[in-house]
């Protein structure tokens, strides 16, 4: 089973190529044409990410997230989320690598089978780096007015965090 998952990407690529041959498509030139388009997309993403990551790194270095974590801890306790995970929840939408770092530390400190360790793992597994995704998608599409995309995506994140805490309590 695990070999299947590690081989999933080559299997998909192989199957697509084989199907293309069957349908008499020039598979290689299609691949190259698509890849070339990808390069153009990449150039559009760079400025959006430079803007976003500059702000994200500043925010992380400033200690603002720690201050917010202290302020939010009692509130989280009230809705059933372990307050130890607050830093993870704040970092998660802005930086994937930082969230993984904070989460790993929680798991190592409290143990992978503790409620806090499990909650941290489920939070990491069930959410995405929201701001990064938004910057990449809207950067590539040249969107300046993002309308309600950010609040809607943050709603989904919040629901994911709450559900993670409740699911761990319910299932373990």
């Amino acid at each position: 089973m695990s070999t299947f998952f590690t081989m999933l990407v080559p299997i998909i690529i192989g199957a697509v190529a084989l199907w293309g041959m069957v349908r008499k498509v020039d598979v290689y030139s299609a691949l190259i044409a698509g890849a070339e388009e990808g390069l153009g997309v990449l150039i559009r993403i760079v400025p959006a990410l430079v803007g976003l990551l500059t702000a994200v790194y500043m925010l992380r270095a400033s200690g603002a997230l720690e201050l917010a974590a202290q302020a939010l801890a009692p509130l989280l306790n009230a809705v059933g989320i372990p307050p130890e995970t607050v830093a993870l929840m704040l970092v998660r939408p802005v930086s994937g690598s930082a969230a993984l770092g904070v989460g790993s530390e929680l798991i190592a400190t409290y143990g992978p089978d503790s409620t806090i360790g499990r909650t941290a793992a489920v939070m990491l597994g069930s959410t995405e780096t929201t701001f990064y995704t938004i910057a990449v998608y809207f950067g590539a599409a040249g969107i300046v007015k993002t309308r309600y995309a950010v609040p809607a995506a943050l709603c989904a994140d919040l629901a994911g965090f709450l559900a993670a805490a409740w699911a761990v309590r319910l299932l373990f």
């Binding site: 998952f5 999933l8 990407v9 998909i12 690529i13 697509v16 199907w19 299609a30 691949l31 044409a33 698509g34 388009e37 990808g38 390069l39 997309v41 990449l42 760079v46 990410l49 430079v50 500059t54 702000a55 790194y57 500043m58 925010l59 270095a61 400033s62 200690g63 603002a64 790993s104 798991i107 992978p112 360790g117 793992a121 489920v122 939070m123 597994g125 069930s126 780096t129 995704t133 938004i134 998608y137 809207f138 599409a141 969107i143 300046v144 007015k145 309308r147 309600y148 995309a149 809607a152 709603c155 989904a156 994140d157 919040l158 994911g160 559900a163 993670a164 699911a167 299932l171 373990f172």
Partner: protein, 190 residues
Amino acid sequence: MAAIWTGMVLISILCGLATGNGGAVGAAALEGAGAAVDLCLAMAGVLCLWMGVMEIMKRSGLSAGLSRLLRPLLARLYPEFAGDKEVMDSVSANVSANLLGLGNAATPLGIQAARKMRRRTPGVACDGMCMLVVCNTASIQLIPTTVAGVRLAAGCATPFDILPAVWLASALSVCVGIAAAKLLARVWRD
């Protein structure tokens, strides 16, 4: 986005001054800009590869077949693009990659969908694009391998025992995200 970005920068400066981290904030700004370029280079290969594979799928009719399969669901999520074959094909490929847990492949495919949606409303995120972003930020991950690796490293005997909880949490988060996007689409005024 303009307000959010300015807000993030201003909060960083104020908190940096308040906590005495002013110097670190200055260094971090430059570091972040560099990290963005590193990140783009790191994803360049995967992005080009999957856009190439997508092109094969398009020319061989595979993506059209996929989009017929997912049409009942996607026509409801993206009503304004239900008649647009190209957009539907890209969104279907993006959803399939997400369901298979191929986050690396889902991003380029989603980007392609966003670029095709843009043609109608240049510069402004239409309802479909907001929905696309929400579905991808709350992406359903069937096998969270990275987290399982972290748990294994911390001495866990059964790193995958969190799977049902992860599925439950991500399903709920996707549902809330879709509901929020549909609701905000009705009430949002700009």
